[in-house]
């Protein structure tokens, strides 16, 4: 009788809470992607949004900016909002009200800050404003480009992901090279003194953010990440392989010079 009355939940509450938190993170990322797609439909070069919060905590959009332009050494202002209804033709296909509503929604939580896409404004006078970075159009290609900047022969990256209460943690495991060789990436926790790191520390953070987003968005995970096995690994957990887009091995010839 007592057993029937005690109705334990089928899955531990902590796991359900983690799933819930992750679903929220994924949702915020998906909204962020949606915002980026709509902004870029109107302004294809858009890379950053400049926003502030007014006294009520509501979001105000100050500008849509391009990426840093090497010719002028700064970002170009692509769009600045205006209060004049007569000028609404300048908004083009961008629905500003809808955009601000969505920004309001995603900026209330800590999720986007955790993904590293919201930062304080880079200009000191505007420290109270927020600088939002739109995601790269193709995250997998961006990861490949960053890795190949440091390891030109890289063909794929093998890493592990751990979903926690505070986002997705990424561990780098191996890089496979064009010639079939594998390069182990030292674990910063097991061997913090190791200097075999293929790239500097801040590149790890940049890669980890993009990889965590690839992992968190289900459609990107299924398209780009392949589960793989490695019995020799010192760590537990599922390994995932991100295969980079094919390109002609450049260093095969370069090595002879």
């Amino acid at each position: 009788m007592k057993e029937q009355q005690l109705r334990p939940t089928q899955i531990p509450l902590n796991d359900l809470a983690t799933t819930y938190v992750q679903a929220g993170e994924t949702l915020f990322l998906a909204i962020h992607d949606d915002i980026a797609a709509r902004v870029r439909l109107a302004h294809p070069d858009a890379e950053h949004l400049e926003v502030s919060f007014d006294a009520n905590g509501d979001v105000r959009l100050h500008g849509v900016w391009s990426a840093q332009d090497s010719a002028i050494g700064s970002c170009r202002l692509l769009y600045a909002p205006h209060d004049d209804p007569e000028q609404s033709w300048r908004d083009g296909p961008l629905d500003i009200d809808e955009l601000v509503t969505d920004l309001d929604r995603v900026l209330t939580g800590a999720f986007l800050h955790r993904w590293g896409v919201v930062e304080p404004h880079p200009v000191y006078e505007h420290r109270d404003r927020r600088w939002i970075t739109l995601p790269p159009a193709d995250r997998a290609a961006t990861v490949a480009a960053i890795v190949r900047r440091h390891v030109p022969d890289a063909e794929s990256l093998i890493c592990r992901f751990e979903a926690t209460h505070r986002g997705v943690a990424v561990g780098f495991e191996q890089i496979t090279l064009h010639c079939g060789e594998r390069v182990n990436i030292p674990c910063p926790r097991c061997s913090p003194e190791s200097d075999d790191n293929p790239w500097p520390h801040d590149v790890s953070h940049e890669l980890a953010r993009l990889l965590a987003q690839l992992y968190a968005l289900p459609h990107l995970r299924s398209r780009h990440l392949t589960p793989c096995m490695d019995v020799a690994s010192e760590h537990e957990g599922q390994l995932w392989q991100l295969v980079f887009p094919y390109r002609e091995p450049a260093s095969a010839g370069a090595a002879h010079h």
């Binding site: 029937q4 899955i11 509450l13 359900l16 994924t26 998906a30 992607d33 797609a37 289900p218």
Partner: protein, 241 residues
């Protein structure tokens, strides 16, 4: 594959929609699981408890439990534990209980609000009915109180709400009893009183939120854009005697 900006907008919007569904589902599952967890602990300490009253602060949305109650067979209720009066914290961790309940009822549209009666008591407190040990048996009791030969009900889960569309009964006027006869809910002829509808749909929503119950009791019907499902009522052993 065309990868134009317009195509990306459509893709992003579609994945956003999927993420919203996944989030709502994870939220509902978490909230109902917390409700079940709270219920299990209360029933362990005070087995007769059927419902509890609480103060709800609309300001910071916290829940302050007030009393545990039991319902007698004649419908009268009796206070089992006055949370503030009897400081009996040994059998039940009340702080934790309040925190868990606040968690479950944090959202304005959270699935756990289905367990809360819509009308506040005269003292403006709210009443939360602890979910029964076997939800589907309770649903069957409620349905068969009005429609004794009911076999299953059709429920619609569109837009966060839930309503019963029809009751399907075995037609006992036929000799073999195998003919089924749906009774549709209409505005002129509701299936049952409003309060019964609320109690049935509350339990149906909770069954829907928990995957292990959903898999056992609900069968989806209709197209991919429809949210209707059959809720299969268990056979009772006394039926037909």
């Amino acid at each position: 594959m065309t990868d134009t900006a317009a195509h990306r907008v459509a893709t992003a919007l579609r994945h956003r929609g999927l993420a919203v569904d996944a989030f709502n589902e994870a939220q509902a599952q978490y909230e109902i699981a917390v409700l079940d967890h709270v219920t299990a602990r209360i029933v362990e300490a005070y087995p007769k408890t059927t419902h509890l009253t609480f103060d709800h602060s609309t300001h910071d949305r916290t829940v302050e439990p007030h009393g545990l109650w039991t319902t007698h067979h004649d419908g009268t209720e009796e206070l089992v534990l006055d949370v503030r009066g009897d400081a009996d914290t040994t059998t039940l961790a009340l702080e934790e209980l309040a925190g868990d309940l606040s968690d479950a009822l944090a959202g304005l549209h959270s699935a756990a609000w289905s367990a809360v009666r819509p009308d506040p008591r005269p003292d403006r407190r709210r009443t939360l009915d602890l979910p029964p040990a076997d939800r589907i048996v309770r649903v069957a009791e409620l349905v068969r109180a009005r429609h004794p030969h009911a076999q299953l009900i059709t429920v619609d889960f569109a837009d966060d709400t839930c309503r019963v569309l029809d009751v399907i009964c075995a037609d006992t006027s036929q000799a073999d009893g195998g003919v089924i006869k749906p009774i549709r809910a209409t505005d002129e002829h509701p299936l049952w009183p409003e309060d019964t509808e609320r109690r049935i749909t509350a339990l149906a929503r909770q069954i829907h939120a928990l995957p292990h119950l959903r898999a056992r009791h609900l069968a989806r019907v209709g197209g991919p854009d429809e949210h209707t499902a059959f809720l299969l009522l268990p056979q009772t052993h006394t039926h037909g005697k």
